[in-house]
């Protein structure tokens, strides 16, 4: 699997993503500079975390208007898998590839800690290696992770099974107490309609190395390798 990692001015988890991709796929990831409009052929496009354009105005808003995003949207529409992590998720919602928006955390504070999320489906290219219904421990690190969409959209997301992950307790129970940022319906990650795009606030790339305290993020990348080769 050949993965490309997009680098915006202000991306800062680009290296972390590349390190984990290399560890799981065995191949170095291609770093894609935001200013370049043509993108090398990749089996997976990763839009990494960070603070593209400082996240000024709104998280992801400026990056969504950069030339490279036009290319990403085009490729995504042709079915190239896209994984947006944290700021990457925010950018994907701002481009319209995923619905809704990530607002300021309910606490108004940046939160960096491990939380539990529950894969809602395991029949996708991103989650096949997870166990259905079993919570995984994963770090979050964001100030704007509070997922919002209108009720209609939320119902559609639920109805079509497009919610990828929900914040939950260690036991896998979805509850208010387990919701770190006020996200509606505890949404931590979303799929596009065709299931080829995943946007998520938690950082799977950060917990894929036992030395750093856990490997629950690794199956996500393993799933991609298995289904994409």
């Amino acid at each position: 699997m050949k993965a490309g990692v997009v680098v915006f001015p202000g991306s800062n988890c680009d290296r972390d993503a590349a390190v984990t991709l290399q560890a799981v796929t065995g191949h170095p990831a291609e770093m894609i500079w935001h200013g370049d409009t043509d993108m090398p052929d990749c089996d997976l496009i990763v839009v990494p975390g960070g603070f593209s354009y400082g996240d000024y105005l709104r998280s992801g808003a400026m990056a969504a208007h950069s030339p490279i995003c036009r290319t990403i949207v085009e490729k995504a529409k042709r079915g190239v898998p896209v994984l947006g992590i944290c700021n990457g998720f925010q950018i994907l919602t701002e481009t319209g590839l995923l619905p809704g928006i990530l607002m300021r955390n309910a606490s108004l504070r940046f939160i960096c800690k491990d939380v539990y999320i529950r894969p809602e489906r395991t029949d996708t290219i991103f989650a096949a290696a997870y166990e259905a219904g079993k919570a995984i421990r994963i770090p979050i690190a964001h100030k704007d992770g509070n997922y919002f969409a209108d009720r209609e959209t939320l119902d559609r997301l639920d109805g079509d099974g497009l919610v990828a992950f929900r914040y939950c307790t260690e036991q896998g129970e979805v509850s208010d107490a387990a919701n770190p940022n006020g996200s509606q319906r505890n949404i931590a990650g979303l799929y596009s309609e065709n299931g080829r795009i995943l946007g998520m606030m938690p950082h799977p790339e950060r917990l894929a190395d036992a030395m750093l305290g856990g490997v629950d993020g690794r199956p996500l990348f393993q799933s991609l390798v298995n289904s994409i080769h």
Binding site: N12, R15, V19, F51, F110, C112, R206, L212
Partner: protein, 738 residues
């Protein structure tokens, strides 16, 4: 008196202008004699900042020289943007700590944010990628009206800046004391990594080499209020100019990447970030260190505002800027890199042979000053000082026992000075860069050196109440505690940076605190072969004649050759808990004493440096031999607090069957004797360690066994960990929910 040869159209200098610039009459006389003429206003402005305490270290210089600064692994000691130590395998660590106290009090969010930005520039200006940030914070009483807003502003300012740049904030310390009510301290530390053969320095060289400005545009930021007092400069603006800068972490991130990219090439002769006194101090320092002159043409400086004068540009403290001297001819390739990162790039001058700083603006020579007068010949004072007579020792039993030990523990662990700092460090991205091995909450932060199996440990320490009672012992203790914290995770302590925060040095008793602390630090650094390689001094931290407690903040780093041989504080079940070092029940200046009596009294615990080193080396050797992976050093709060912290970290309780001591229980549990560690090991390893300790003549006591989910002490009902945890975790969130 000769008239200036420079621009005479500037406002005339009056005694008031001189005073408004903070230049003392005798300093002005000295200045005039060095120049051989009177300065114009721009020149006075330049002198005033170069001769300020902040840039010249005029009160502290003579004393800083007494600190040990050398060691076999020191590549660069004090005098550069940051200190550099060799880590082996072609890598060097570059690190420094700096204060941003006053701005953080006035505008906590921006003040703290720009403090973090400033210290990171010091690091990457030398060629290092910042890999860890730490911060030492001192606030006033939690009950003080301002404290809540100050904490939340400072913490989010630090967080937002570091988080945005993507450098993990991995550690620090936080204290409360009413003596910081009107003078909070915000000290930021940054550690970076660089190839040891590609370190960049600030000494300019050659003549005719281009002087290049990169980064953000220059605005009228931070031009000191006092220096704006001259009416001539104030007329167009009805608003008093803010003296606080706004940080732009996004631009700093671009500047970081662009600088590191340029540093891959062989084009930089010298580089210096623009910190305090921006263009002035960066150009003067580069010229001074290289023994050359510099000529700047300010018309080429990228400007954010129109109509800026030479005075304003030279004194502006706009953030996120750098000055470089490049090899001639390399400008186009350098420019391409900065343009790629969408940053300003401008050639604004050249190096010269004149040894002078020449400032041109709109065709006029605005300043023409001999570089040595600005730098090496700046004033230096041997200020009178009065050493404090240390208070008498307080015997353990002079501090009253206060009922249940478990209740006291609960109260201490839930108090502002000992409670969990999670509320703070969860606002910091402490994991970005993918190498954080030990997250905040342990003795020292531990990151992996990227791409290797080596670890870099870092810590911030000082106990101001000890320094207040006895500056000498307090200075010693600060160094010892940082050395101990590094040791506790298994690291070889390497070197120290300091941030010396004190009151007004013109008062002999304050100068005495400064001297005492330095002497104590120096003695400890010698004992541990633990050199000071960088640092910062912040004086005049006082309001209405009330000074802060002497606060010589220590930042230190250490190296772990193999991360498999490191330790954490997390207790595991079925371990034997050993205590190393002597317990005398020292309660003077302890947190227990404050709880029991309402005040701090008597002598602080003293550090036996020889013993400290002996025990520390021993602990490290056990970690190296895989005999032990759970270690915690004892400091604030004493033995029982240390045990409780281990229990909470590991989610495992412990039981003490009987007290092996002649001391009364409160002195045994809460005394703050120095040079002690707790180790938790298997029963089998306990026996081996026991023998090793005997051979090394180190006092070792088996004090407890781990297991269960409560803390069980003799003659006390068990204290459930859950209750302890909620007390420990509740204080900060509760304080901010009010």
């Amino acid at each position: 008196m000769t008239e200036p040869t420079t621009d005479r159209t500037e406002p005339t200098i009056t005694p008031e202008t001189i005073a408004a610039h903070g230049v003392k009459p005798d300093e002005y006389e000295h200045l005039v004699s060095l120049l051989g003429r009177t300065p114009n206003l721009t020149e006075l402005g330049i002198f005033s900042v170069m001769w300020s305490e902040h840039c010249s270290y005029k009160s502290s210089k003579v004393w800083l020289k007494t600190l040990p600064t050398e060691g076999p692994h020191v590549i660069q000691g004090p005098g550069e943007n940051a200190g550099v130590v060799d880590l082996g395998d072609g890598l060097a660590a570059i690190f420094k700590m700096e204060s941003h106290n006053h701005p953080s009090y006035i505008e906590p969010y921006q003040g703290a944010a720009t403090g973090v930005g400033g210290i990171m520039r010091d690091i990457f200006t030398m060629g290092a990628r910042p890999v860890a940030n730490l911060n030492a914070l001192r606030f006033g009483s939690p009950h003080h009206a301002k404290t809540r807003r100050l904490i939340s502003g400072v913490v989010s300012g630090i967080g937002d800046y570091g988080n945005c740049i993507g450098v993990p904030t991995v550690g620090g310390e936080t204290n409360f004391d009413p003596r910081y009510n009107n003078n909070i301290l915000v000290n930021a530390m940054c550690v970076g990594l660089a190839p040891s053969d590609r370190i960049f320095y600030s000494a300019a060289a050659g003549s005719g080499n281009p002087v290049v400005y990169v980064g953000s545009k220059t605005g009228r930021d931070g031009i000191h209020g006092a220096t704006m007092a001259s009416a001539e400069f104030d007329d167009q603006s009805e608003e008093k100019r803010p003296t606080v800068q706004v940080g732009d972490p996004f631009t700093e991130k671009l500047l970081l990447e662009a600088c590191l990219e340029l540093m891959q090439q062989d084009t930089i002769i010298a580089i210096q970030d623009m910190g305090a006194a921006g263009l002035t101090s960066s150009s003067v320092e580069m010229a001074s260190k290289g023994g050359v002159g510099i000529r700047l043409d300010l018309d080429h400086v990228p400007q954010r505002e129109s109509g800026m004068t030479a005075y304003e540009m030279m004194l502006s403290e706009s953030q996120e800027r750098m000055l470089m001297v490049l090899r001639p001819g390399s400008e186009p390739q350098a420019e391409a890199i900065f343009r790629k990162w969408e940053l300003d790039f401008a050639v604004i001058g050249t190096t010269t042979e004149t040894g002078r700083l020449e400032i041109m603006h709109q065709g006029a020579l605005k300043a023409d000053l001999p570089i040595p007068a600005l730098a090496d010949e700046a004033p230096s004072y041997e200020r009178p000082y009065q050493l404090r007579k240390p208070p008498a020792m307080i015997a353990p039993d002079m501090v009253p026992a206060r009922g249940s030990i478990a209740d006291t523990l609960l109260e201490l662990m839930g108090s502002p000075n000992l409670c969990s700092r999670r509320w703070i460090w969860e606002q910091y991205d402490h994991m970005v860069m993918g190498d954080t091995v030990q997250r905040p909450g342990g003795d020292a932060a531990l990151i992996r050196i990227h791409g290797t199996n080596k670890g870099l440990a870092s810590t911030c320490d000082v106990t101001p109440r000890y320094c207040q009672a006895d500056p000498f012992e307090g200075g010693k203790q600060a160094i010892a505690e940082s050395w101990r914290n590094l040791t506790a995770v298994g690291a070889d302590p390497l070197a120290v940076t300091d941030c010396l925060n004190f009151g007004n040095p013109e008062r002999p008793e304050i100068m005495g605190e400064f001297v005492g602390c330095i002497q104590g630090m120096a003695q400890a650094c010698h004992a541990f072969a633990f050199p000071v390689v960088s640092g910062n001094v912040s004086l005049y931290n006082e309001t209405n004649g009330v000074a802060i407690p002497p606060t010589p903040g220590i930042g230190a780093i250490g190296l772990i050759a193999d991360l498999a041989q490191s330790a954490t504080i997390a207790l595991k079940p079925d371990q034997v808990i050993l205590k190393l070092g002597k317990t005398r029940g020292h309660l003077g200046q302890s947190l227990y004493q404050e709880l029991a009596t309402g005040s701090y009294n008597g002598a602080p615990p003293s550090v036996d440096l020889e013993q400290e080193k002996h025990i520390g080396d021993f602990v490290r050797s056990l970690i190296r031999k895989d005999l032990c992976h759970t270690v915690h050093d004892l400091s604030d709060g004493g033995l029982l607090v240390g045990l409780a912290e281990m229990a909470l970290a590991g989610g495992t309780g412990f039981t003490i069957d009987e007290l092996k001591t002649d001391l009364s229980p409160h002195a045994y549990y809460f005394g703050e004797d120095q040079g002690r560690y707790l180790l938790a090991v298997s029963a089998e390893n306990a026996n081996i360690i026991d023998e090793c300790a005997l051979a090394a003549s180190i006092e070792l006591t088996e004090i407890a066994r781990s297991g269960g989910d409560a803390i069980t002490l003799p003659h006390e009902s068990p204290l459930p960990l859950a209750a302890l945890r909620s007390a420990h975790e509740a204080w900060f969130p509760g304080y901010f929910a009010e």
